[in-house]
Symmetry: none
Subunit: 241 residues, 2 copies
């Protein structure tokens, strides 16, 4: 029950192609067009839809928005401007969360985008259930169709995932390994009297341990460090294996 994507009176073939392409990036497959300005099929749409030919070929064209919606239960429209209607307005993340719940409950949903220049007519906005507004900087709030569909697609896709697997934590060396490294380093630093002032040794050494532990090295990385240090200490050129 993935949502269908509906472009209402799209103007540029390139944009239809770019939307199809973003759909393949984010696992969407059904594209509907309402009265595309340049008719259908459209060569530019096909050229722009690299890797999404199957979507372009499967496009269904409708004469009116109402017909395109006939089997749909909940309609989401992305609009730049808030309209003067008591519609629910959501940001993409919240909207795609709600949509995901709906599709899991068996709803047929649609993601709708209006014409590039003018956006949806008020009549069409009235036919939608939920409006999506993508937050943008006030300096430039105009997102093109391709950009908007990428963001909505992304927000939809990232919710489809699988129950997220417990996050793998990086492997960190056991303290036994760290202690070996610290003894080695401390030995060298003692020999060269790196601390200079005996009184300061304790605090300096604590700082040294702290700065290394923060790295959360694996056992392999601690071994690497020990090898590097030993080589540098011995200043003996190692043979090529």
């Amino acid at each position: 029950m993935n949502p269908v994507v509906i472009l209402v009176r799209p103007q540029m073939g390139e944009n239809i192609g770019a939307v199809a392409r973003a759909m393949t990036n984010f696992g969407l497959s059904e594209l509907r067009l309402v009265a595309p300005r340049d008719g259908w099929p459209n060569r530019k749409a096909m050229e722009m839809a690299a890797g999404a030919a199957h979507i372009i070929e499967g496009v269904k064209v409708f004469a009116s928005f109402a017909e395109a919606l006939s089997d749909v239960q909940h309609v989401y429209a992305t609009t730049a401007r808030p309209r003067d209607m008591e519609k629910l307005v959501m940001e993409p993340a919240e909207a795609m969360g709600q949509l995901t719940e709906q599709q899991r409950g068996g709803y047929a949903c649609a993601l709708v985008y209006g014409p590039e220049r003018t956006g949806l007519e008020n009549e069409e906005v009235a036919m939608c259930n939920t409006l999506i507004t993508i937050p943008t900087s006030p300096d430039n709030s105009s997102l093109n169709l391709a950009q908007a569909s990428v963001i909505i697609g992304y927000e939809w896709w990232r919710r489809q995932g699988l129950p997220t697997p417990a996050k793998a934590l990086p492997e960190v060396a056991p303290r036994e390994d760290w202690n070996g490294f610290f003894s080695q380093l401390e030995g060298y630093l003692d020999e060269v009297n790196w601390y200079r002032v005996a009184d300061k040794k304790t605090i300096m050494w604590h700082n040294v341990m702290t700065m290394f532990l923060r790295a959360q090295w694996s056992a392999q990385e601690v071994r690497s460090m020990r090898g590097m240090l030993r080589s540098i200490w011995e200043r003996r050129r190692l043979n090529t294996d």
Copy 2:
């Protein structure tokens, strides 16, 4: 302290323009380019950057990635493939959450994108702290530069309005300091032929950079490390002050 955006060896002027445009949508303003393929300025970048001329005009061009990072403390790179390095990998939402905390704590952060066709070199990936992977459908996991920058920008922007409690962050040395440390260490390791097998040097060195960067040392700690290393290298007993 908004993050800077860095494009490493970008190929197409159109993409530079599209990134600049997305930056204005999402409140970002500083764009740096490392060795753009077609030189700079670039007419196509300017044409594509409708409404973002000020960003294009303010672009700073660098000869190397290291130079572009010199005043940066934490580096985020968007990469398609997970690399064989022990780097932290995050999705955009989590990464931009972390970045927002960091910038509120005063860190200079960078958002990095590699060349369109090839992505970043491993050497460059090794220089980054956190990798960002945008979740996509396995059917088409290739996002172009413009799409990726829209998603990252969007995830960044939508966190800027939220009141996040300022979290005290550890001070992290700017890359200039790290580069000095890395040159010193690399010099010693070269002299002792620590790598043994010439073929392995590159991968070993990337792992070394990665394991140290993970420690997030302050400028003071990097200096400490450099002093320790030098003393160990010279094996000369220091005088008590």
